[in-house]
Symmetry: C2
Subunit: 389 residues, 2 copies
DNA sequence: CCGATTTTGTAAAGATCAAAGCGTATTAGG
DNA sequence: CCTAATACGCTTTGATCTTTACAAAATCGG
């Protein structure tokens, strides 16, 4: 059941609700006239007028005085959501790189900073690098920490309620790092830490291959294999934040699936372990027999875990993401065939369209969601950076 | 993000919202005074007063004139939600029996009818039996079809959007039955058809072993093995209604798991195939070596599928339901051990507390949810049976 | 170039609703 | 029997939205 507020609504609250309606009608729209807003919200024109003026006074909207007007009649003032009232951060702390995105409330990316990190860097160094990237991103955009309304950081491994990756993480020593606490000392706004697969899934639904779907299984296919789940349009974290970790089940052969590619016979010694998979995909594309069987075996193993998720959740679409999605041409059809064989109801299978930045993008989106949730649940005062509760 | 209505709110709508607040505050509570309601909703006492009188006039509430009053002061009139304004049906069409429950809007069961059916009865006979049970239940409660506000029917097998069990069902010929259509000719109210495992899960959350949890994996352990998923307090159907069908994956050994019990050496010929499992559990309880290993093997296979669901969804609690949950004393600890071995984060594992009626109870709850959703989204006119859209 | 038309902006009036305040009814306890 | 406490019902007040009306600003047609 929808958990509506059980509290009654008085007149000031009514104004607040209607203000929120107007804000909603303003967002993700070109600058709108009062008449348009009136039609969109069902409120009368005078009511919209006073509310819009109030929003401008509070800083939530800006006015565009009428200029050239193609239509007949008196040209209308236009109101616009002031997306620059606040900004949010989305950060991907990956194994090899750190990427920070800073955007306004509409999700327009204002500034981004990328910095490569050694895969075996100790936690302290990685945290220091993270701090540098954040600083660079803030100064690059001309913002102070107090201007940021929400921060989301992506890390690898299942994230528990405290923001730690205590179950497992490929980053050495990272399981004990209190990332939330570390960032909380710098930002007064809400700080979230979330798993990278989950955030990539969010990004694909936001701007990627799954923008039309509400039930999504995102499979991260790379040197690690993971999954992110979106059901009914909402990211599912699980009770302890470990949803999607189907790869931990031995009967599902995700753990060793990439080994088929790494250990494929014929890979030259000159190719490093991280590039072996790319070499195998290329070789398979050119017809190399051993490479083709390696890819085939990899997909078969990948499909078992994907099928488990599909059978468990019956999604509309399965998104193939991660580093190997660059070779989707070799994987997608085989994956479809395997899923068809294993599943009851066949979902669509699509390749990611966002590439490697999807994780940071998903983090950004989660920050935006956080802001929206506060905005639309708490009420509408003047725009200021929210503080953690 | 919460998908609030984008429409503005005017004064009549405000009254409606506040009326709904009062209805909420009235439900599942002992008869309440105006002052109590005022405190519960935050509305002023006069406002609550006029709204409550309106609810009485519309038929949503009844007045209890003041009688003996323990407290000091003038005794207050008490208002009570009129749960008998409407009634709903929850029906379980099982393999061996049909069970119909009829309740008022508070979920108080007014009448129930149970009728056994031959497992191999053809669909036409089963439908006729269903019609009889419904008629008996209605007349037994003194109700007409027009008095029923929602109907939910539980069937075995994954239910698609049309209410058919086209993927699979153990009932012979049932895959083609258009149950929704069949019932729609009799009831003008909304009719839902849903999978039995899913409904059992709903029931356990409503009144059973999982009433404190929002993320639940319900495992139906019986001659068939199935699952129902509740995430964030909401039943998950999946895009095509086939969520939870992890048993279809061969790597998960649910299909053949009960065979360990049925084919256990030592079962006397006098025991039929349906009772073999019960015999084995009893024998195991008394120390029979072969029976114990059979149970152990069964649990090991059951745990693989349960672990797949737990890893995929990371629930708070796993509920063991179905016929075999009567032998939870033999299963639960072994299941816990296996899950501990297989999973990342260990959920609680509990046995069902509702028994065989849970499916019909879950169907009833879904009907109640349907009514609530309409009530709290559409608005509050005089109480009449809702019609299908 | 000027008036008709259309659309916008704004003001005033009317309606609805909730809050606040106040007098009255009813009961308990001394 | 009388006082205090509690609850009820009514009236007044204030806030909000809608309707209606009218002035302002632009285009269109002659």
């Amino acid at each position: 059941m929808t958990e509506l507020a059980t509290t009654g609504t008085d007149l000031p609250r009514l104004r607040e609700l209607n203000s929120l309606s107007i804000v909603r009608a303003l967002r993700d729209q070109p600058p709108s006239t009062v008449t348009e807003l009136s039609q969109r919200t069902g409120l009368s024109r005078p009511a919209v007028d006073v509310i819009a003026q109030g929003l401008v006074a509070d800083g939530w909207a800006t006015v565009l005085e009428p200029g050239a007007n193609s239509a007949v009649g008196r040209p209308a003032r236009r109101y616009q959501f002031r997306a620059t009232a606040g900004h949010v951060l989305g950060i991907d702390v990956g194994v090899h790189k750190i990427l920070a995105l800073l955007s306004d409330l509409d999700g327009n990316i204002v500034h981004s900073v990328r910095q490569s990190v050694a895969a075996d860097a100790p936690p302290a160094d990685r945290l220091a690098e993270l701090d540098n990237v954040i600083s660079a991103c803030l100064t690059g955009a001309g913002k102070a920490p107090a201007d940021i309304w929400a921060v989301t950081v992506a890390v690898t491994g299942a994230v528990d309620a405290s923001g730690r990756t205590s179950f497992f993480t490929p980053l050495p020593g990272w399981g004990d790092v209190d990332l939330t606490g570390h960032l909380a000392s710098r930002f007064a706004c809400p700080v979230q830490v979330e798993n990278d697969c989950k955030l990539a899934a969010v990004a694909e639904r936001w701007q990627g291959a799954a923008s039309d779907a509400n039930d999504i299984v995102y499979v991260l296919a790379g040197m690690r294999t993971g999954a992110g789940l979106i059901l009914d349009g909402v990211l599912r974290r699980g009770y302890g934040g470990a949803a999607g970790e189907i790869g931990a089940l031995k009967h599902v052969r995700w753990l060793n699936a990439p080994a088929h590619l790494q250990n494929c016979p014929g890979v030259p010694d000159t190719v490093g372990p991280d590039d072996a998979a790319a070499w195998v995909f290329n070789a398979a594309r050119e017809g190399d027999k051993a490479a083709r069987t390696a890819v085939s075996r990899y997909v078969k193993d990948l499909a078992v875990g994907a099928a488990a998720l599909v059978l468990a959740l019956d999604p509309q679409v399965v998104i193939l993401g991660g580093g190997f999605s660059r070779s989707a041409d070799l994987i997608l059809n085989a994956l479809r065939q395997e899923l068809q064989r294993l599943c009851l109801r066949m979902p669509e299978v699509r390749a990611s369209t966002l590439g490697a930045d999807s994780v940071a993008l998903g983090a950004l989106k989660l920050s935006l969601n956080e802001v929206d949730d506060r905005l639309f649940s708490a009420g509408l005062s003047a725009p200021v950076a929210p503080r953690r509760k």
